[in-house]
Amino acid sequence: MDIRRFRSFKEGVYKYSFAMLAFASLVFLLGIILTLFMQSWQVFSTIPLTDMVFGKHWYPTHEDAAFGMWPLMAGTALVTLGAMFVCVPIGVGTALYIHELAGQRQRAFLKPLIEVLAGVPSIVYGFFGMVIVAPFLQDLLDIPTGLCAFTASLILGIMATPTVASLSEDALSFVPRSFREASLALGANRWQTLTKVVVPAAGSGISTAIILGLGRAVGETMTVLMVAGGAAAIPKGIFDPVRPMTSTIAAEMGEAVMGSLHFSALFAIGLILFLITLGVNVIAEVVSRRFRLKLGLGR
């Protein structure tokens, strides 16, 4: 009897200690959300939301300070969009090549290589962009500065490529072999099978990959801080320097006086960024769930 009770006590201890670990991340998440709201409350209660979101001037340290985030959001949008033009074709193209054309040997080294690319620290990308790519583009394109939205897009795009390539390749390989067999047995060639059966079947999986790549580009800080140029003005073109939201926080957090309106405004940027990436992740999750349903892999 005693042993039995001891056993059930032991099982209870295991169960609850693992449950605690599992819920720890939830606690962190709640803590972060709470902090973001509390710290940004000051600026939200002082400045009207529309002035902040649509305000065209970001002069946080000016005598009569302005906290218009429009230029920062435009910077983020521009750089992210540019990055998408780089990472979507390269990433999806890579996935298609690895999946369809590469032999087993090529696949065996290409896939891990891409994952290594994903593991390069972002500061290294930033350094590379600042020291090599920016001067090169400045000379090549004859632009006033190489540190601009274009360079940032390029580097960010390269950084997001492994995410897109790797997840797209996963999506392609989740397509059951039986679909390919059915298509080939009906007299389709490889190209038709790929474009008419495999890619449509993997379509929402590839979309998920692209959305997560986008999330990576939106949230990236170090690289854009180093190569985007840092001008908090609404960009008129792709070769203008910009200051995306993430790099604004990173650049200004050190000098902002704790408890000041500026300090609070930076938290507000953080909150907005958080909401954007949350939205991106939710969309990715919804799309990928539909993907599994479509392939009949259970709900």
Partner: protein
């Protein structure tokens, strides 16, 4: 008195890498007859029929020797047009494998990739084939719903209909009822007997009774070899080989 030969295999060997999966198979498949291939798992029966539409091409490191002729066409000749071959030799797989598209798009697929654009022709051939596969009445009101909404048996009949739409001469069935319930199985078997009038059929089955019910000829294979090949009623009543008799009476399997 013997019906004419559609496909003639002579001394066919097949290798998966270094493993020899088929050993000197010689076998004639007769026109507009049902030929069943039976034998325990791993005997090479699926491997054999997958040679007839060159589905084994997809397996890296595989190799085939010997000759397989269909109406005089050397199936394994490097210059043989595989796309054309597969249009003439259709295949239905073990697990129903409709595409994640609508019923109509599943049916139209074979025509569209074959370059047929005329919508009226496509629609007409889709309907005809669905009727031939005894599926039309089940699906006529939901042709544009996803094919994955159908039951397993209906999905398999859709796969048969999808195969008919490109008007093949030969249909290969690779254990088509393996994942189906008895009622759906019976419908597929009735369908096979129906289709026999217009098509040459080869069916792989692990179910001896099924072979007895649907086939005119039966080939018994064991460990990559063809043990016995004869008319079905003769094979099931007076088998020549002792091994065939033992297998048919359930002594091993």
């Amino acid at each position: 008195m013997a019906p004419e030969t559609k496909i003639s295999a002579r001394d066919v060997d097949f290798y998966y890498g270094r493993t020899k999966a088929l050993k000197g198979i010689s076998l004639d498949i007769h026109s507009k007859q049902v030929t069943a291939l039976i034998g325990p798992s791993g005997c090479g029966k699926s491997t054999f029929i997958r040679l007839l539409n060159r589905m084994n091409d997809l397996i890296p490191g595989s190799k085939v020797q010997g000759s397989i002729l269909m109406d005089g066409l050397d199936i394994n000749h490097p210059k043989t047009d595989v796309v054309e071959l597969r249009r003439r030799v259709g295949m239905v797989f073990q697990k129903p494998n409709p595409f994640p598209k609508s019923i109509y798009d599943n049916m139209a697929y074979g025509l569209v990739i074959g370059g047929i654009r005329d919508r009226d022709i496509i629609e007409q051939r889709v309907v005809t084939s669905l009727k031939k596969a005894a599926l039309y009445d089940d699906v006529k009101d939901r042709l544009h719903d996803s094919a994955l909404m159908l039951s397993g048996g209906q999905q398999q009949r859709l796969c048969i209909a999808r195969c008919l739409v490109v008007e093949p001469e030969v249909i290969l069935f690779d254990e088509p009822c393996a994942s189906l319930d008895p009622i759906s199985t019976r419908k597929i078997e009735e369908l096979i007997l129906e289709l026999k009038q217009d098509y040459t059929i080869a069916i792989v089955t692990h179910n001896m009774q099924q072979a007895a019910r649907v086939s005119d000829y039966t080939a018994f294979m064991y460990l990559g070899e063809l043990v016995e090949y004869d008319r079905t009623e003769r094979m099931f009543t007076v088998p020549k080989e002792r091994m065939t008799e033992e297998y048919l009476s359930g002594k091993f399997g």
